[in-house]
């Protein structure tokens, strides 16, 4: 079924049009048009904003802001976002990355949302036409949100502090068994002074591994130091089951992949 599209120069006008029943915001369309092609009739109209500000990446001082319409391909090739390139390249094949936006990835249900996992570890702020909120709060209520995401912003991670892995069966572009992003900071003596770990596919949306994060504090990055964090990695998780992996399998392999990521 064809879906009438309305394009607006401003987010404000797009937001007003989005209030109509049956309308959905169009990012890159890789999920929303896929659903329409599959026969999802819950959506009858699409709305988008063509405001060029939505496609801008700004790096100023230590802060990085990525417009909601910026694609994974644009992030992967940006000279100052090298640390994030791995997470952006984890999303689909080349054509998908040319279309998939950051804004859309925030709404992608598991097993998708690999870049959102990175943004959660980065403690990003999500800006919408309704105001700004931390990633975690945004993810918690994303289903009911009618707001338009305009950008995400975060503090540039210290060199070498950001780690990311996407575990998949089909290389190079299979969907995730799970994905993990971590930001680790170490004190002068090598002990971990701060840790943020985000997991993909371990719930219906990206989540923090808070018990594992706490278990790392004051410890060293070696097999003994991370043992209690690995034991706690599954705390609070409710992994998804899909054709790629069962919840049981995901729970079994999470500590293995987290361990490899921490010791890499």
């Amino acid at each position: 079924m064809a879906l009438a599209l309305q394009s607006f120069a401003t987010v404000k006008d797009a937001s007003a049009a989005l209030k109509a029943a049956g309308t959905r915001y169009l990012g890159g369309g890789t999920l929303v048009l896929r659903a329409a092609n599959e026969g999802d009739v819950s959506v009858s109209g699409l709305v988008r904003s063509t405001d060029p500000a939505l496609s801008v990446i700004t790096v100023s001082g230590g802060t990085i802001r990525i417009g909601a319409s910026v694609t994974m391909a644009a992030i992967a090739r940006h000279p100052e976002l090298g640390q994030l390139a791995k997470a952006a390249r984890a999303v689909g094949g080349p054509a998908i990355r040319n279309m998939a936006t950051v804004g859309g990835n925030l709404f992608a249900p598991s097993p998708y949302g690999d870049f959102a996992v990175a943004l959660l570890a980065l403690d990003a702020m999500v800006s919408t036409n309704d105001g700004e909120m931390p990633m975690e709060a945004f993810l918690a209520k994303r289903g009911g949100s009618r707001a338009i995401v305009t950008s995400v912003s975060f503090t540039r991670p210290a060199q070498g502090s950001f780690r990311f892995v996407k575990v998949s069966r089909v290389k190079p572009k299979g969907v995730s068994v799970l994905s993990i992003a971590a930001i680790l900071e170490q004190a002068g003596d090598g002990t971990i002074s701060s840790a943020r770990i985000a997991l993909g596919c371990m719930a219906d949306r990206p989540m923090r591994a808070k018990t594992a994060e706490k278990a790392l504090l004051g410890r060293t990055l070696d097999a003994d130091g991370i043992a209690s964090a690995l034991a706690a990695a599954g705390d609070g998780t409710a992994p998804i089951t899909d054709p790629i992996a069962s919840a049981w399998y995901r729970a079994q392999v999470l500590p293995v992949h987290l361990g490899r990521l921490l010791l890499s």
Binding site: A2, N37, G93, P94, K173
Partner: protein, 160 residues
């Protein structure tokens, strides 16, 4: 359903059509304009058979709305041969038996063309990565990978 005007350049020629709002680029190309080189395989973004090049970037025409391509330059497999002479990629696909039923071939050619446009001398890994969004049910991929590498070598020899 409201009709909207869509104008773009297709393989170097200006096209102007009215399409129903919400029409995919794949349907506009095939049903309205009559360029049937992009194939509809899955309509889910998974197979890559519908891949076309929009303003230099590989895109899935089944997940792209025609009306978002206003003013764009679009290349499809129909535009590869020039003056009746096959593009080096098409020649290499034929020579290497990289096409069997041929359903995936237009999408493969588009993905390979974008790769060679940006990376004239790709490694095998570059080729695998570039074709990773395209599914082939027949060839086992190896002949396709070899064909792209052969076309790249032919190109670099021509350039030398």
């Amino acid at each position: 359903m409201a009709k909207v005007p869509v104008q773009f350049t297709l393989n170097g020629s200006e096209k102007a059509e009215f399409v129903e709002s919400g029409t995919t680029l794949l349907n506009a190309l095939r049903d309205k304009i009559g360029d049937t080189s992009p194939k509809g395989g899955c309509h889910q973004g998974t197979c890559g058979a519908c891949s076309v090049i929009v303003d230099g970037e590989l895109r899935l025409s089944c997940l792209t709305l025609a009306e978002t391509c206003n003013g764009a330059a679009i290349t499809t497999t129909s535009g590869l041969a020039e003056g009746g002479v096959l593009h080096p990629l098409q020649r290499a696909f034929l020579d290497a038996f990289a096409t069997q039923c041929g359903f995936c071939t237009p999408g493969m050619l588009m993905a390979a063309k974008v790769l060679l446009d940006h990376t004239p001398d790709p490694s095998r890994d570059d080729v695998v990565e570039a074709l990773s969004g395209n599914i082939c049910r027949c060839t086992g991929y190896e002949p396709i990978i070899q064909a792209v590498l052969t076309a790249a070598r032919a190109n670099s020899q021509n350039a030398a």
